[in-house]
């Protein structure tokens, strides 16, 4: 019994070391190489426009194109949404294998202003999600992305949101596959997606 618990301690020690080691390795790897180091599976549970909680698990079996933003954003977000819309149009019959997901980093205001109205204006396939503050933060942390409210008297309602503008590709198993940095042309995203479907 005592020997076993010593063994357990040793094993747990090994686990801690391995975890610390993988964190160390993860931090030292350029972003593009994460997929070769370890699979990571971002999770979220966020309300859609109808108030239904949508969880990352329900999107298994398809690829997801996930991006964060806010509907009051006149420059960056329309650019990303337009690119996603173009990709979805050009995927043709393969479009059913890809679910684009827009996660609001300004959920309260976006919900008031109309989430569906915004996403469907770009493409009907885009699912808009706007959780509460805690679930939004949890989703962003899970994707390892940054967002922050910035007070700005030169913005509507006196604030704006800074956020990571990239698109994230999640595989059918829920694994984070890669990101497309902001400004990646729709044609490149399309070509990469098609090679995976």
């Amino acid at each position: 019994m005592i020997r076993l618990s010593v063994l357990q301690k040793v094993l747990w020690g090994a686990v801690v070391l391995a975890a610390a080691g993988s964190v160390f390795i993860y931090q030292r790897q350029p972003v593009q190489q994460i997929e070769t180091v370890e699979a990571f599976r971002p999770e979220f549970a966020l309300a859609d426009a109808d108030g239904q909680i949508r969880q990352s698990a329900e999107f298994r079996g398809r690829h997801s194109l996930v991006f964060f933003g806010f509907t009051n954003c006149p420059d960056v977000c329309p650019t990303t949404l337009s690119e996603v819309a173009q990709v979805m149009d050009e995927l043709g019959p393969d479009a059913a294998k890809v679910q684009p997901v827009f996660i609001s980093v300004d959920p309260e205001r976006d919900r008031q202003m109309g989430l569906n109205e915004f996403t469907t204006a770009f493409h009907p396939s885009i699912l808009g999600l706007a959780g509460d503050a805690a679930s939004t933060r949890a989703a962003a942390d899970s994707f390892k992305i940054f967002f922050e409210r910035e007070d700005d008297t030169a913005a509507p309602d006196g604030y704006s949101m800074s956020h990571s503008p990239a698109l994230y590709l999640i595989g059918p198993e829920g694994d984070w596959l890669r990101q497309y940095t902001y400004g990646t042309p729709a044609s490149e995203i399309l070509a990469d997606l098609k090679s995976r479907l």
Partner: protein, 157 residues
């Protein structure tokens, strides 16, 4: 890539500028490619993009914009640093001598807040550009689709 594309398309433009892509001049400055995107309702801000060419020898700067389309038009800049996009207010946009300065997606842009009414595709509205030295000039802005990524005159091929 985008620059090459713009360069090539600019040549097409010079060959036969469409009416929708009018150029207005103010001294050494010429202003063209003014466009905006349709808005969803009037409560979300609209955007304003334009190209300003300074053919002179003196640097200038765009210090403000005004328009009857919005009560609170301002200049902003999208900055992507360390993987995070933010949108600080730009006090002025440099318009250096001998160069073309673009307000374009992902960079400087006019943010039109408190819209008078929703912008619809196919509409146009005037925007007055206020320069530090050259003074003011008004340009007609074309409202393109919500999904537009550049001025239509660039797609003239």
């Amino acid at each position: 890539m985008r620059n090459i594309l713009l360069g090539g398309l600019a040549m097409v433009l010079f060959a036969g500028a469409a009416q929708a892509c009018e150029t207005v001049t103010l001294g050494d400055l010429s202003v063209d490619h003014a466009w905006s995107r349709a808005t969803i309702g009037e409560s979300r801000p609209a955007v304003f993009y334009v190209a300003i060419t300074n053919a002179g020898t003196q640097d200038d700067a765009l210090t403000g914009i005004s328009t009857p389309a919005a009560a609170m038009p301002m200049l902003h800049e999208t900055v992507v640093a360390d993987g995070v996009a933010s949108m600080p207010h730009a006090m002025s946009v440099p318009v250096p001598a001998g160069q073309t300065t673009e307000l374009a997606p992902g960079g400087y842009h006019g943010m039109l807040m408190q819209l008078t009414s929703a912008l619809k595709e196919g509409d146009s509205f005037p925007v007055t550009l206020i320069f530090e030295k050259a003074g003011e000039v008004t340009v007609n802005v074309e409202v393109l689709s919500l999904r537009a990524e550049g001025p239509t005159c660039d797609d003239a091929s």
